[in-house]
Subunit: 437 residues, 2 copies
């Protein structure tokens, strides 16, 4: 039986998942491919760390360049994450004509153009299924399954840690910090949770989705994003009263001749398919011109789900190699920039209905002052909610307002003015409302 030889850089959590799948399902993969996938080189800076997978004798090295320079290796799997040295390793491997498989969202979301151009120039494949939505075959769905369709919008729950926290805050009426602590104990949140709970991870994945769906090279700096750490139980209660669930949504869509994108905690109406996606699960809801809505749901993280995505990319490279395919699908899914693709909307110009929570002293005229400022900035209020006289964490009385559709930059200007008032305490809190037209 033929064998295709691969090398892996980074034998951490995902790397071990990839090894486990390649070993456990080797018979299945061989029956599908008519060939075997052989891991001939594995690099890790800590080769002796205890691991629950066996690396064959003579395969392990501490030097990533041993993987890249091995003439037998046709596919290099990069799983160390982060920008450098991952970027340099990938570029070096591309230069040597190796196919690349990576799950590195930080790198792809900031160096998309460089990497996709280099891979294109060298005629190698760069697979990145594992970088967005873990095990859900989302990248393939967009590049292959929905290839005939113009994507109108993509809206996802793409950070499992945040979704786990929000689900427990909703179901158990717990505070953010108490769920976070528990999630850290259970391994669902990192010791340093900032990348997840501050929305950075979701923003990186969204940048990749914008590149894929709209062929616009963006990075997370090109759109607004915000996390969930400032949510309080009151927000979830009010959302529930409005028949909504709160989810950290990442969305991008065509709007008025442009593409707008954002990551924000959002009120999602209960009837929407994303509202019932709970726990660590991810789901992505796509609207396109032929299929209308479609939804893809599954585990967005973890060694086996992400490992499954990485191995599926390896298999695609193996299929290309065995079938003699050269440059079968470009990294972005596009050969040429289409003139019909709209430009990116400036972050400030994105518009939504908003949920605004202000902490105020309990004194007369506060609502009038605040609504006056909003009105001055062209923002009209559809509902005001004031729940008894309970105080919020800042010591004030929480005042919640739901607005009609408003432009993000004007909302920020209004809130800056509101936050500077003597009658308000601390910083106001903002969420989007998912509009289901």
């Amino acid at each position: 039986m033929k064998s295709v030889k691969i090398g892996i850089i980074g034998l951490g959590n995902i790397g071990c998942g990839v090894m486990e799948i390649l070993q456990r399902n080797s018979g299945l993969l061989a029956s599908r491919l008519g060939a075997s996938i052989e891991v001939v080189r594995v690099a890790d800076i800590d080769p002796d760390r205890p691991r629950d997978v066996t690396v064959p004798e003579g395969v392990m090295t501490v030097d990533a360049m041993d993987v890249i320079n091995d003439p037998e290796v046709q596919i290099v799997v990069e799983l160390i994450g982060g920008i450098e040295p991952a970027r340099s390793y990938i570029l070096a491997a591309i230069n040597r004509g190796k196919h690349i498989v990576t799950a590195n969202k930080a790198l792809l979301s900031t160096h998309w153009s460089e990497l996709s151009k280099k891979a294109g120039a060298k005629g190698v494949t760069l697979g990145f299924e594992g970088s967005v939505a873990g095990g859900i075959p989302l990248v393939r769905t967009i590049k292959v399954g929905l290839v005939a369709n113009r994507i109108l919008s993509v809206t996802g729950i793409i950070n499992g840690t945040c979704n786990y926290i929000l689900t427990r805050m909703h179901k158990e009426h717990m505070t953010f910090s108490s769920v976070l602590g528990d999630a850290q104990d259970k391994g669902y949140a990192e010791a340093d949770p900032a990348m997840d709970v501050d929305g950075v991870d979701a923003a990186q994945k969204l940048a990749i989705l914008v590149n894929l769906c709209f062929n616009i090279p963006v990075s997370p700096e090109d759109f607004p994003y915000q996390g969930i750490s400032r949510l309080i139980p009151l927000d979830l209660e009010v959302a529930e009263d409005f028949g909504c669930r709160i989810k950290l949504l990442a969305t991008a869509g065509r709007s008025g001749g442009e593409v707008e994108a954002w990551v924000h905690p959002s009120l999602v109406p209960e009837g929407h398919p994303l509202a019932s996606v709970d726990g660590i699960f991810n789901a992505v809801y796509i609207q396109d011109d032929n299929l209308g809505p479609s939804l893809y749901y599954g585990r967005g993280a973890g060694r086996l789900p992400t490992g499954s995505a990485v191995v599926s990319d390896v298999v695609s490279c193996v299929r290309d190699i065995l079938s003699g395919a050269v440059e079968r699908i470009p990294v972005s899914g596009y050969r040429t920039i289409s003139n019909s693709e709209p430009p990116m909307k400036l972050a400030g110009n994105t518009a939504s209905e908003f949920y605004v929570r202000v902490s105020a002293h309990d004194s007369p005229g506060v609502l009038s002052t605040i609504s006056g400022i909003l009105g001055k900035h062209g923002i009209s209020i559809s509902s005001v909610i004031q729940r008894g006289r309970e105080t919020d964490p800042g010591g004030g009385v929480p005042l919640v307002m739901i607005t009609h559709e408003a432009v993000f930059s004007r909302m920020l200007e209004a809130l800056q003015e509101i936050d500077a008032l003597d009658v308000t305490i601390g910083e106001s809190f903002l969420m989007r409302i998912l509009m289901t037209s």
Copy 2:
């Protein structure tokens, strides 16, 4: 710009959808492929029927062999449906070395081995994304996205007509026949609805899924299937009382060293992701060894959703042609029969908990007689529901029983005996209960 030439046999509803997508999204497709897709031959027995797509001058013919024999045509799209002459056309095109794209579930579910072997022998691709779950890229998800994973079970709502009828019966407390009439008026059900409501369509699609997921060549004759036409509003009410929705499920899964498959109306617990799939939508829930559960949701029928799947298959062929790929992925996704694949379980040996409704005369001792017969066949009852004294359509009093897990063949034997009793009226009605272990 390069151009790849295709021919279409059958310009009906789906055929027009394919033409519309190729024309409307020609710029998008060209930017993705770096080449254009040109329809150079279209065959239809009724070329002059009014259609809302334009076929270029000189392209239309009444003879399918004109498409197959055209030396320019590299990909033949078969959209006439049914077994013959579709089978002969496809075989003729394969013999001439053309790639095939079809959405013909009736043909694939009965002639899978023949077609996949012929395509393999000639080294051509046979794409059939449109044959299951319409626009949802499910075939690709199984053959490519989840390629590294051993599929444990696949459970789907894959007939939109039935799901539309069941949704309205549930929400509007209507009878089967009144919803069916309305669905026919709205174009959601055929004038002859038997293929849909009797479960044949779902069984054909399930046969294709079994081939794909388990590499076992089966046809609908190899597993039990049943439709929804005998459901009465009481069934939906009882299901609701048990916290369940009724769905026509098609399922196949590994069970005790074998693969069991069936299509039955089923009670689905409200918390299950399939319970909330409403209206004409399809959804397929897959369990595998690496990803655990994943779900794929979208429109399962219609000219544009199915057209989108057909065009995605055409694009995959075009990508193979342009990249020089030969025999990149076999029809079934497998190169060799794996010895580790389990055999198919005999239809009668499939096991579930069951919902049984019997129509009986309102006389003493009936329940004792019926439960005695069930017990004699090794079937134990977990609940009995008798709703007042209202009569069912047969003039008797409906008696509903929920059983513990039981073997299908024994259940059929018991029901045959129960239906022969003097105290029962007409034929009993059976549903499965989806077990969520």
